[in-house]
Symmetry: C2
Subunit: 270 residues, 2 copies
């Protein structure tokens, strides 16, 4: 199902600024039994990302109406929401825009899907860096070329994810996931105030860790720190928590703490 | 006129990666008497930008066919070409893409257009920085949020352009133009190997200067250097060369050399 401003169509104006300039934001959510998981958080994040770019936040009841039409009949799958600044004339000036476009799409789960449980992920280091841009840091905007160039660095099916560094060599994220380390009994995740996408699952893990009394540190992270960690895991809204079993030559053992966090995360309502 | 893959329509698939990920490049060209100015250069730049992102370069005869249909009847206006990686599934992996989409659009010149001659431009400094990304430096890709955020910093109609710095404080470009200084009798323009868009008119100015035996330096440029320059001018394919008469408090006098370069640029065939 695809709805554009509430109408069933998969065609959008070629003058939409989402297409011409990447002038918009998006969310990718997991659907289970017709229900969008972590909806409240995704809605809040959609709103804060719109605010960061000065986009008009769509009306909640319209988005939720679209959501239910798109996801309601889906046993398992994915809901994607895109919000753009709308159709605009030539030129970057956002004052030229029409006010906004909302796109809601749902897809059934793929059989080979990343949404199905796995034994853990195999990761590699990417050469493509995440550029530093505090004005966009944390925001999941439509300009994703860095992630695409990073993802294009490998085609081997046994590699699940690539890890990206910033220009200073700090570890930031996976191409489509956020990263956590376990160092002894504490949790460490990269600081994303200069670059990267601060995902909803990252926020949930931080909350769960806090509830469990697990120390959690947000900081600049080095490659050496990742290699020295007891365990590494990746999160996003489709895979949930997935332990990393290997990053190139480094093999990580199973971690009881990662399993415990995954279990607790499942139990968290939103 | 709007043509998508040669067909007259202004609607594009919402699954096109140009829309979902900014996964494409574009060109904006001036049309005069049905002819696209500097076509050879734009075609070459389109090709090199496609190569930089691993996009399939459209067939030249198809693009030129579309170009003639879109621009042929236009007395004065703008031709825009967008090339994307095509329709793709979910996920950043470019291997998922359909092979490419080409969009050609033409617009008649606006009466208030930046294409009409002016007495010079009034510029300001932008707070939004251009991020450093060597993998995308020079390429005019579809992810233009930095330029949009910079352009959103002012609405005063007397301001024509905003100048952007990189994170280290080097002057890089205007939000939609390249920048040149005249220092005594030499030309200076920012180095764009780390960030920025290396436009076709910038290349033409460098060639013209070389032919005229004017010394030309491509280097890291400071704000102080801009303020101390004898003259400043901006270029893009719609405005050509435009002298900057003012940057905030700094007023620049007329420059015979800028006028000469503008004249020579007009005389350059492509």
């Amino acid at each position: 199902v695809i709805l554009i401003d509430g109408k069933p169509t998969d065609q959008i104006s070629v003058l939409d600024r989402g297409f011409t300039y990447g002038d918009g934001v998006f969310r990718t959510m997991k659907v289970s039994a017709g229900r969008v998981l972590c909806w409240e958080r995704h809605w809040r994040k959609l709103g804060s990302d719109c605010l960061a770019l000065g986009l008009t936040i769509p009306q909640r009841h319209l988005i939720e109406q679209d959501r239910d039409r798109a996801a309601g009949g889906l046993a398992a799958g994915v809901l994607k929401i895109i919000v753009t600044r709308g159709v605009g004339g030539r030129g970057y000036d956002p004052a030229l825009a029409s006010g906004g476009t909302r796109v809601i799409m749902s897809f059934p789960a793929r059989s080979d899907s990343t949404t199905t449980p796995r034994d853990g992920l195999c990761a590699r280091w990417c050469r493509t860096r995440v550029s530093v841009q505090p004005a966009l840091a944390g925001v999941k905007h439509l300009g994703r070329l860095e992630n695409i160039l990073a993802r294009a660095e490998w085609s081997a099916p046994e590699i699940d994810e690539g890890l990206m560094l910033d220009p200073d060599g700090h570890v930031i994220e996976g191409t489509a996931s956020n990263l956590f380390l376990i160092e002894n009994e504490r949790l460490v995740t990269p600081d994303l105030t200069r670059c990267g996408v601060a995902g909803v699952q990252r926020e949930r893990v931080l909350e769960v860790a806090d509830r469990l009394g697990i120390e959690c540190v947000i900081q600049a992270m080095s490659v050496e720190q990742v290699l020295a960690a007891n365990a590494v895991f990746l999160v996003n809204s489709l895979i949930g928590i997935q332990p990393v079993t290997r990053i190139e030559q480094r093999i990580y053992p199973q971690s009881a703490l990662v399993n415990r966090l995954a279990l607790e995360l499942d139990g968290l309502d939103d």
